[in-house]
Subunit: 436 residues, 2 copies
């Protein structure tokens, strides 16, 4: 099934009452959502509802394509952020080289919806998970797959499995270089190089490249981060050169991959300098959060990246994901209770940011005054604190809408099986599915 | 469709590769999962995997049934915790009076899977959400539904909608009494009583009872909590008596509802004393977390409840929900990286609790020594810190399994579309679905 046919099947499926956000009392064909012409500002939908602004998505897709072209790098966006086939499709249609994923289950879902080139930015260890991936590679010679490895134990497991499955082709692996005190990955250049030799020599495996994740270096001190990221990118490049000097790479191209959603400019500029190896180098960024950005953690980091890139405000990545909910109760003068909770919006980095209020029927949403903030969330409720003495405390009423931005798209996407795409005036255009 | 037929449909559905936890490379009929005889301890499943211990579920179902019978109260367990039709079914089969839910979407899902008596423990405000519920009531005279209200604005919306939909029966409402500084609900007895009069007089509505949620009173000081809960339960009872004295209730029974998962014994004993009203009182508890309990926040509270009830250790509610994952990397002597993250286990109250380690093939899991703890989670990874100098630091290897308990079941269930049920030896018996 190619991408288009898989998408068609999603468009044709019947959505049953109870899908969050949908105002339906009968099953509805997903592809007919746009024709209903629901307006969020008229409170036509159910609430809470998760919204993707189509214009911001489009802008971000093109922005990232331009960025990668400018630096001469490829993009395998991290699909774990959205786990949405329609968004994967849009990313691939806008020049992405492949998709990055985190688990074998995610790989199986992406494959089902037409993704044919995957970088698993993780170790592959469980027998069932190794088998899941090798089965896809065995069944479909066009399916291109890469995984990470950081230990001899990992190499041994994968080599043994590849031999047992009698694979026609070798399993391509990238050696992961890690960071002291951080997540996975070899803790020294020497260990990483030794492991690269093991991979190159192991039956059923082949060394495809070198990988690292500089996103773990985001700390409280930006200057220190930048220095550490530059150093790490240099290490990755040096490791690649050393492995190449030992002729450990046998494939047509050598992969060099890093790049989260905070410092991918440092990665891109560092990788662009890796030249004159025995074969072409393919630098691959893996940012996942560029697609929707956010109104919190990543937006702050992206504004700094914009400044480094010399961009004016508004020219950079735009927040595309919002969660709207209704005021259910106004029990105290400075408190509004919203029908949105931990089941609906991220709370791991920051609580949602209340952006606008809107009375259905009014001409347009109004920015909320300073001092309005979500101070707490329960499973299904948010506590919106209003500034004492400000007119909003008297005005905001039961039935009004609150539009919120979020911080960290990954932990909002995973709360919604369906997100609605909207125009700039919050008219519903369609929907995208997620599979978590 | 009755409950049994709806469950059958879930058993007959094909699960596709990519459903978290399932070790499949071909679609599999859900009802055939048990026949595969997967063993978690043999690492047959995919990892991470969410597990429900069948014996603990069974124990908890019976324990709660006995508790309610002893106190003469009914149970409408909060379905938002699990959102699992099979678990709803088990709760109803074990004496639950109905299900509590939090949103109109959840009501639609429960109805689809055969639930015919729902207490919406929330305000019902959005036009689409009001319509969703009234449509179910209109279509099915056997569908019994109750919602909360805490404002005149709420009463006006519901009365208007009920009249516009030309309902054959009135919409039964419970007036919500709230707590200063907390969530929804009237902030004084006088306000609540005035609102009860409004409901009783509003076309299309009827006053069904009085409701509150004492679970918001869980604070750092237990004695203070207990005093506050007792006071609140007395207030609810007094409010009910006053509304009854004014002859505001016209239905056969008067509902009196409260009861989270921490202090439901205080609620039950307080409610049992409400007698000699104009008509029978139906006391309804709403605990959601009793079904699986946990290894963290709720387990601590339940151990205190056990002590109040005079139960020996092991006689109370048992933790039924675990998340198992594999060691993907051992990058440093005291650090193991697990393939389980924010996508897989609760992190809102406490991080998961690492309980046991197990090498596939070994005879049985071994309790982890003191000092082993999950110190951080990313989206797809956990950082398990091992005690320096202890043998476990040398022993724990890539490919070993770690079994974790969680804190707060609601925020683990919502990360799993399918959870596997297991025997005490971690053999997979079957699965339950969730709909978030």
């Amino acid at each position: 099934m190619n991408r288009t046919a898989a998408m068609m099947k999603l468009e044709d499926q019947l959505l049953h009452p109870g899908v969050k956000g949908l105002p339906i009392t009968q099953p509805l064909r997903q592809g007919d959502i746009g024709a209903r012409q629901w307006s969020v500002l008229h409170a036509d939908t159910s609430f809470p509802v998760a919204l993707l602004k189509a214009s911001a998505l489009e802008h971000n897709l093109q922005w990232m394509r331009g960025f990668c072209e400018r630096y001469g790098v490829q993009l395998a966006p991290h699909g774990k952020t959205t786990m949405s086939p329609q968004l994967f499709d849009a990313q691939l249609a806008n020049g992405a080289w492949g998709m990055t994923l985190a688990t074998a289950a995610q790989v199986q879902i992406a494959y089902r919806y037409g993704v044919r080139r995957v970088l698993l930015a993780n170790q592959l260890v469980a027998p069932a998970d190794i088998k899941a991936v090798l089965t896809l590679m065995h069944r479909d010679p066009s399916f291109e797959f890469y995984a990470l490895v950081d230990s001899s134990a990992g190499v041994a497991r994968l080599s043994q499995a590849a031999q047992q499955q009698r694979m026609e082709r070798r399993l391509p692996l990238l050696v992961e270089l890690g960071l002291a005190g951080k997540r996975a990955g070899c803790r020294s250049m020497d260990d990483a190089l030794a492991l690269a030799r093991e991979v190159a020599a192991a039956p059923g495996l082949e060394l495809a490249g070198i990988e690292g994740y500089e996103g773990l270096l985001v700390g409280p001190d930006r200057d220190q981060d930048h220095e550490a990221v530059r150093h790490f990118v240099t290490q990755l490049s040096d490791l690649l050169r050393q492995a190449d000097a030992e002729q450990l790479f046998k494939r047509g191209e050598i992969l060099l991959s890093a790049g989260g959603s905070a410092y991918f400019d440092f990665v891109a500029s560092g990788f662009a300098q890796v030249k004159n190896l025995s074969r072409p180098v393919l630098p691959v960024l893996r940012s996942g959060c560029y697609l929707t950005n956010d109104h919190g953690f990543y937006h702050g980091l992206i504004e700094q990246l914009n400044a480094r890139e010399g961009l004016e405000p508004g020219q950079g990545l735009r927040p595309a994901l919002e969660v709207w909910s209704m005021v259910l109760s106004r029990p105290e003068p400075t408190l509004a209770i919203l029908g949105m909770g931990k089941r609906d919006a991220s709370y791991d980095m920051e609580l949602p940011r209340a952006l606008v209020s809107h009375r259905p029927g009014a001409s347009a949403p109004a920015a909320l005054p300073d001092g309005c903030s979500i101070e707490k969330m329960n499973d299904q409720h948010a506590y919106l604190r209003l500034p004492a003495g400000h007119a909003i405390s008297g005005e905001l009423a039961v039935g009004d809408l609150i539009g919120c931005g979020i911080s960290h798209p990954c932990t909002t996407f995973d709360k919604w099986p369906l997100l609605l795409t909207v125009d700039d005036d919050y008219k519903v255009r369609g929907a995208v599915n997620t599979f978590f």
